[in-house]
Structure formats: structure tokens, C-alpha cells
């Protein structure tokens, strides 16, 4: 009985309306994230049954192989779109055909198969993102499996008629085809698989989104705590009644948080560089580095600054939102709860950008995600590498506009009565709500 009374009291204190709102937001956020990722996986599954193929060999064997691709078994049906290439300029050919990838059966493929040698086919894909799911070569995997099955089946049929297998033929049966992967980034090509590049690049850049995420979290928390603690302890009243402008108080808090955040960013960046350097010691590192150079997937000093610029603006947006949230906090506990929307707003694009190419999402979802200002920072690296300049500058313009709005609002709150009268979730003092709704103040 006594325990239950204590338990109920604790639960009531912890499960406040703000906590419930945050829980609902987390659920909605996760639900949205799950749906978006589910759709992306459905798309990959769907893509695996669509094969864009160029048959340069054009023999009865390749024709029967294509037929087998269309209906590999009684339960599976694939769509094979046959295209013709006009040149070996793969970036131009992908653009002309409007395709993201092409499987190419080269001339002499049948001859190689029949001569009992391991043969090769080519997979050309355009890379537009560094995300994990954005670079799954579903089409090439399906094609590879089906081509391999066709070659093996042909060999078996032949041997059924001819008799024993030669050692070359045994080797061929074990590895009937080789896949030559070509990745296209903008107008550059390199003989490497897009998934390999994405995998290595992800490893290389894995700390960047973590740094962005942590910086947003850390700087928000610093400013929110600084403002809420000053308000709760009434040291803010002391400061604001002193001969110092309110803008000085506001800007000093933001600048201090910005400086500490920048220090964190520098330390994290150096730490990250060290980790990445140590991790890149494998055998294929040189080949990978060459391929990345060829594809232009490296950032110049100027481009680094552009990524840093969006990072800085994201932090400023988070700081200005946190300033207002700090004013709203009634106590330390509500201050922590108020941080959760920012955490959620940075977590959603952080997760999405790691797993999928946000650009390829359905328009509604995509623009909802774009509306989160932090999304553009998580995408900045990728947008610059893949030449999505419109998206980068558009994102930057949006961030600047939002920063201006957030800063104006924060300045308005800080330079008006709202700084003392505004609280969230009712309570003792609420003369002007967040959106200007006023109720009577109950104080002396």
C-alpha cells in the first residue's frame, strides 16, 4: 500500500503531459521511419525482378538465357528490358537510356562459354548516394544468378550428351561467369562495384553524421540548460536588470555554446581522421582509393568548408530553438523533456541518410524529411560529392531562411516579457504562450 502510494507519486511526476507528447512523437517518428525504410526495401525487391540488359552477343544461347531470366521458375517472373548501347561512354549511355544500371553481355560471351572458359559480363551502375540501401545492386544480383544458372545448365546439358568433364570445364562449372562491375558517378567511371564504394565510403564517413548528431545534441543541451537554469534560479532577472543589453546576454550564450561545439567538432574530426586512417590498411585500399579518385568521390578544401557551413548553420538553428525551449522550461526535468523533439528531429534524418538515398523517396515523404533543417547537413557530404548542387544550395538557402525565422523568434522572446512569462504545459506562470496565447499571470 505504502509502496503503491510512493510508486504512483513517482509515476505521476515522471509521466507528465510533456513526456506523453514526446512518447507520441517518438512513436510517430519511428513509425514514419519504419514505413519509409519498408518502402525502400520493397522497392529493392521490386527492382530485383527488373533487369535492364544489353545483349551485345545476340546468339541463340544468350536469347535462351534471356528467356530463362524472364521465367526462371514456375513462381517467379522477371521483367527483362532489352536496350542497345551506342557507345562505351557509360555515363552518357545511362543518361540517354534514363536507366540507373545496365547488365551488359559482351560480344563473344557464348563462344567463351562453349569453349569451356570462365566468361565475363558487365554491370554498369550509376551511384547517386552513399547510403547502404541506396547501393544495393538488386538487378545485378538477379542477373548474375540467372546468367550463372543458364551457363551451368548449358554445360550440364552439353556434358550429358558428350560424356566426361575436362578440368577446365570443372573450373568453369564452379565459376561459370565473372562479374565486371563499373560504377558511374556523374560523368566519371571506375571499375569497381557501387556497393563496394558505398561500403568503404560509409566506413570512411561513418563518423561525420555521428559528429553532426552529437554536436546538435550537445550544443542544444548546453544552451537549453544555460537558459533554463538562469531562469529557474532567477539569475537571468538579475542579468537582464543590469546595464547590459538583452541581445548581448543572448549572443554571449550562443557564441559560447558555438565555440564549445566547434572545439568538440575539431577534436572529433581529428579523432575520426585517425580512426579512418588506421582502418584503411587492407589489401584493396589502393585500388579503392584510385577508384574513388576516378569517380571524384573526394572533397576538396573548399567543399569541406561547404559541408562545415551547413553543419555550423544546423548548430545555430538548434541553438536558437534551444534558447526558446530553455525559456519554456519550468524545471530541469521539463528542460530535458523539451530537448527530445530536437533529438528526434536530428535522429530521423541521421538514420535515413545512413540507410537510404533520401532523394529517391516518394515526394511527400521526401519533402517532409527535407523540411527538417538538419537533413540537409546529413546530406551535405553526399550532395557535394555527387554534384547535387541544386539540392545543396537549396538546402542551404532553406536552412538560412529557417535560421533567420528561429533567430527572430528567439530574439523576440528574449527582448520581450515572454522570457519571464512564457512556460510550457501550464503551471503557475503563463501569460503568453509559445504562440502568443495569453492567460493571466498569477504572481505578486
Amino acid at each position: 500500500m505504502k509502496f503503491m502510494s510512493l510508486f504512483k507519486k513517482e509515476l505521476r511526476e515522471m509521466l507528465t503531459p510533456q513526456t506523453i507528447i514526446v512518447l507520441v512523437m517518438i512513436y510517430v517518428g519511428m513509425f514514419m521511419l519504419g514505413n519509409v525504410m519498408g518502402k525502400q526495401i520493397d522497392k529493392i525487391v521490386e527492382e530485383s525482378s527488373e533487369i535492364v540488359l544489353c545483349d551485345n552477343d545476340d546468339t541463340s544461347f544468350t536469347k535462351s538465357m534471356i528467356e530463362a531470366m524472364k521465367k526462371p521458375d514456375a513462381n517467379t517472373t522477371n521483367t527483362v528490358k532489352l536496350v542497345k548501347l551506342e557507345s562505351d561512354d557509360y555515363p552518357a549511355e545511362l543518361d540517354r537510356l534514363g536507366e540507373k544500371y545496365i547488365v551488359i553481355i559482351p560480344k563473344g560471351f557464348t563462344e567463351q562459354v562453349e569453349s569451356g572458359k570462365t566468361t565475363e559480363y558487365i554491370y554498369v551502375s550509376r551511384m547517386t548516394s552513399l547510403s547502404t540501401l541506396g547501393n544495393v545492386s538488386a538487378g545485378s544480383e538477379t542477373a548474375k544468378n540467372l546468367i550463372q544458372a543458364s551457363v551451368v545448365s548449358t554445360l550440364y546439358s552439353k556434358k550429358m550428351i558428350e560424356g566426361k568433364l575436362t578440368s577446365d570445364e570443372i573450373t568453369q562449372l564452379n565459376k561459370p561467369v565473372d562479374l565486371k562491375e563499373i560504377t558511374v558517378v556523374q560523368n566519371n567511371t571506375a571499375n569497381i562495384g557501387a556497393s563496394t564504394v558505398a561500403q568503404m565510403k560509409t566506413m570512411e564517413n561513418m563518423f561525420l553524421p555521428i559528429i553532426v548528431f552529437l554536436l546538435i545534441m550537445y550544443s542544444s543541451q548546453m544552451v537549453l540548460n544555460a537558459v533554463s537554469t538562469e531562469k529557474i534560479d532567477k539569475t537571468l532577472e538579475t542579468l537582464l536588470s543590469a546595464p547590459v543589453s538583452r541581445l548581448s546576454v543572448l549572443s554571449s550564450k550562443m557564441l559560447a555554446a558555438g565555440v564549445v561545439a566547434a572545439l568538440y567538432a575539431i577534436v572529433m574530426m581529428f579523432g575520426m581522421q585517425n580512426v579512418v586512417t588506421k582502418m584503411q590498411t587492407g589489401g584493396d585500399t589502393a585500388a579503392y582509393k584510385d577508384a574513388v579518385e576516378q569517380l571524384g568521390l573526394t572533397l576538396s578544401g573548399g567543399q569541406f568548408i561547404l559541408v562545415g557551413l551547413q553543419m555550423f548553420i544546423s548548430i545555430l538553428i538548434a541553438l536558437s530553438i534551444s534558447l526558446v525551449l530553455g525559456v519554456l522550461a519550468k524545471d530541469a526535468k521539463s528542460g530535458q523533456a523539451l530537448l527530445l523533439p530536437i533529438q528526434l528531429l536530428s535522429m530521423v534524418p541521421y538514420m535515413l541518410s545512413m540507410f537510404m538515398d533520401i532523394k529517391t523517396l516518394s515526394p511527400v515523404v521526401k519533402y517532409i524529411i527535407y523540411a527538417i533543417p538538419f537533413t540537409h547537413t546529413f546530406m551535405a557530404n553526399e550532395n557535394i560529392m555527387f554534384g547535387n548542387t541544386t539540392l545543396y544550395w537549396g538546402g542551404l538557402a532553406y536552412q538560412l531562411a529557417l535560421l533567420a525565422i528561429c533567430m527572430t523568434f528567439a530574439i523576440r522572446v528574449f527582448t520581450s516579457d515572454k522570457i519571464f512569462t512564457m512556460t510550457l504545459g501550464g503551471g503557475k506562470k503563463s501569460s503568453g504562450g509559445l504562440f502568443g496565447k495569453k492567460t493571466q499571470q498569477h504572481e505578486d
Binding site: 536588470s241 543590469a242 547590459v244 505578486d444
Partner: protein, 247 residues
Amino acid sequence: MDNKNINVLEVKGLSKQYKKGVYASQGVTFNVRKGEIFALIGPNGAGKTTTIRMISTLLKATEGDAIVDGHSILTEPEKVRQCITYLPDEAGAYKTMTGTRYLEFMAGIYANDANQIKEFVERASEISELGDRLKDKIGSYSRGMIRKLLLARAMMPKPALAILDEPTSGLDIINALDIRRMIKKLSSQGMSFLLSSHNMLEIEYVSDRVGIIAKGHLLEVGTAEELKDKYGTRNLEEVFEKVVLSR
């Protein structure tokens, strides 16, 4: 002119409206003379803090004005802030700072140069009577010590007007007496005070004149003796009861 007749603060019809038709304070008018301790007394929710916050330029007045040392709170709030210091009710201080560091920080805001900072800190250290404890972190201070430190901070720039909201609220008898004596001493040196309190017996002891405020209206102004004579009572609490009931 006698210094005692110079008005350091003139409050003229000051009102604060939070919601249409609902005033936290309405048409409040009074003045504070040089070297005077003027106290606004009233129960919780009477409008004392709102009035004080408007005079301290923290809240904007809906109507009326207040002139502090010749400067309007509406048109010259920056100049007003140079003439006043404000000590909020139940105010805290930065717990991670030492007492001395806090005084230095606040002195840096009020002072014009390094010498003045030094002068302010020395004065505040003396007023606070905290001695070596000023070297300790504020987080280790008792409530009474924090109040003394804050009061010393409010006094250090020798403001034309010190505004103290419930200066002894929550303090034990010894600390409250210390602070009342401190206020009396500084007043005798020419500093003006605007206090607020709901402890009317304390106000009767410490203040030169009193303003009785209830439901946002200033109902009476006078010395404790004048008010007691007028209403034929023994103390300010009884005056307050009669004033409020008569409205």
C-alpha cells in the same frame, strides 16, 4: 534643496495587463525619495512583483510610466538599468562560481574599468560580511549566505535605487535581522530602496514609508505611524486588513 526631498523614483499610473480586462497592477502611483526605504506590502498575488519588474525594466508597462533618477522606463530603459540594481525574490547565484568570482563577474557588468571592478568587489566583500567564505563555491553556501552575497552584489555599484523583492524571504531570524540592519545602514548612507514584502511586521521595522497594494491597486501610502493613526490600529497587519476590507 534637501536631498530627502529629491525623488529618485516617480511612479505614475503604472499598469500591467496580461489579458484583456485583467490587470496584475493598475494605475500604481507613488514616489521614493533619496535615502528613503519605501516598501510595497501586500499578500501573494497583489501585484508587488509585477510593479517591481516593470520599474526594473524587465516587463513592459501597458500604461503609465516610471521615472528613475530622471530617466523613463519606457523611453530610456538602458539608462534606468544604470541607476538601479534589482534583487529578485528567491534569487540564486551561479553555484559553480566562488563568491569572489561572482562579485567580480557582476562588477564587470556595472563597472567601467578594472579599478572600478576592484573597488566594487571590495565594497561588496565588506557588505556581505562573508569573509573567507567568499573563496568557496556558492554551491556550498547556506540560503542566508547566498542572500547576503546577492544583497552585497546589489549594493556594490551604489545604485541610486536598489529594488529588493522579498529581501528576507525564507531566511532564519538571525539572517533576516542582519539583512534588515544592512539595508538600514546603507539607507543612512544615502541609498534609496524600494522593497516588497508580505511580511508587514518586518516592513514596519525597516521602512520609512509604506504602500499597501492589493489586487493590483495601490490603496494607501504613508509612514507606518501615519497609517496606524489613520486607521486606529496597533500594527501594519491590522492597517492592511482595514484598508482591504474598506474597499
